[in-house]
């Protein structure tokens, strides 16, 4: 019985750790409830910008200012190999003022990014 118990406990720990990590990688917010596009291919964003309901901007679990966002975008562009190859995903809370989203879009546009995706969630 001992090896089986070992394996069971290992699996249990693995599940607990991965569930916790999966929870932490997503910023909690209410995305716009829309169907999205009918596309089968989903490209890697390379950069995900979260805009919370109160207007705060969160990237990689860290709150950033618009100025700091510029530096992150530049870094992401460098990693992607050019602005045309980077297709950032903006996850904005549906209750957030669009003025804040406009600021983010303008910032992204000022770095040469043109194709931006707005995250949605399917209605429950």
């Amino acid at each position: 019985m001992t090896p089986m118990i070992d394996i069971v406990f290992q699996l249990l720990i693995f599940f607990l750790v991965t569930a916790q990590m999966a929870e932490q990688t997503r910023a909690k917010m209410n995305l716009p409830q829309e169907r999205g596009e009918d596309t089968t291919e989903r490209e890697q964003a390379g950069l995900t910008v979260n805009v919370l309901a109160d207007g705060r901007i969160v990237v990689n679990d860290a709150e950033v200012s618009l100025e700091a966002l510029d530096a992150l975008v530049d870094e992401a562009i460098q990693i992607a190999g050019g602005a045309d190859r980077l297709k950032p995903l903006v996850r904005a809370d549906r209750d957030c003022d669009a003025a804040r989203l406009n600021e983010v879009f303008q910032r992204l546009g000022s770095r040469g990014l043109s194709a931006i995706r707005l995250a949605t969630e399917r209605g429950r």
Binding site: P3, M4, I7, L11, T18, A22, T25, R26, L31, P32, Q33, E34, R35, G36, E37, R42, Q44, A45, G46, T48, V51, L89, R91, A92, D93, R94, D95, C96, D97, A98, A99, L101, N102, E103, F105, Q106, L108, G109, L113, S114, A115, I116, R117, L118, A119, T120, E121, R122
Partner: protein
């Protein structure tokens, strides 16, 4: 007196691999399954693709849908008509020539949800190119 040395106590110990193989295959199948299922943050949500336009007014803009707040309510303005329901907006957009693309100008003071609704309706109406224009 002779003792039987072929008794059970003198047998060489054998390693039973069956259970280890069982566990290994279980772990292997688990990892394969979870690797396929796990998605990065950027892929977790459906999304709407938009082109980003300039915030400058351009007289050559072919078709502009404005999303703004009028009398405290979100309104979709298409030309001279103000639309306040999703169904009407979709019907109005479907009547437009889709090949020219659509500019969606979003004003401050409106919720992101309304902007997303406008973009979704444009996509549903068949517009391939939807350009998001931040309004000042």
């Amino acid at each position: 007196m002779r003792f039987n040395r072929r008794g059970g106590s003198d047998r060489k110990p054998e390693l039973n691999l069956a259970s280890m193989i069982d566990a290994t295959f279980l772990l292997l199948s688990f990892f394969i399954f979870t690797t396929g299922q796990g998605q990065t943050e950027s892929k977790l949500s459906p999304n709407l693709r938009v082109e980003r336009g300039t915030d400058a007014k351009d007289d050559l803009e072919p078709q502009v849908l404005e999303v703004l707040r009028v009398d405290g309510k979100p309104v979709f303005r298409l030309g001279s008509s103000d639309i306040d329901s999703r169904e009407q907006l979709l019907a109005a957009l479907e009547a437009l020539p889709q090949e020219k693309g659509l500019f969606v100008r979003v004003y401050g003071g409106i919720e992101v949800g309304s902007a997303a609704t406008a973009i979704q309706c444009a996509r549903d109406a068949g517009f391939e190119t939807v350009t998001y224009v931040p309004a000042k």
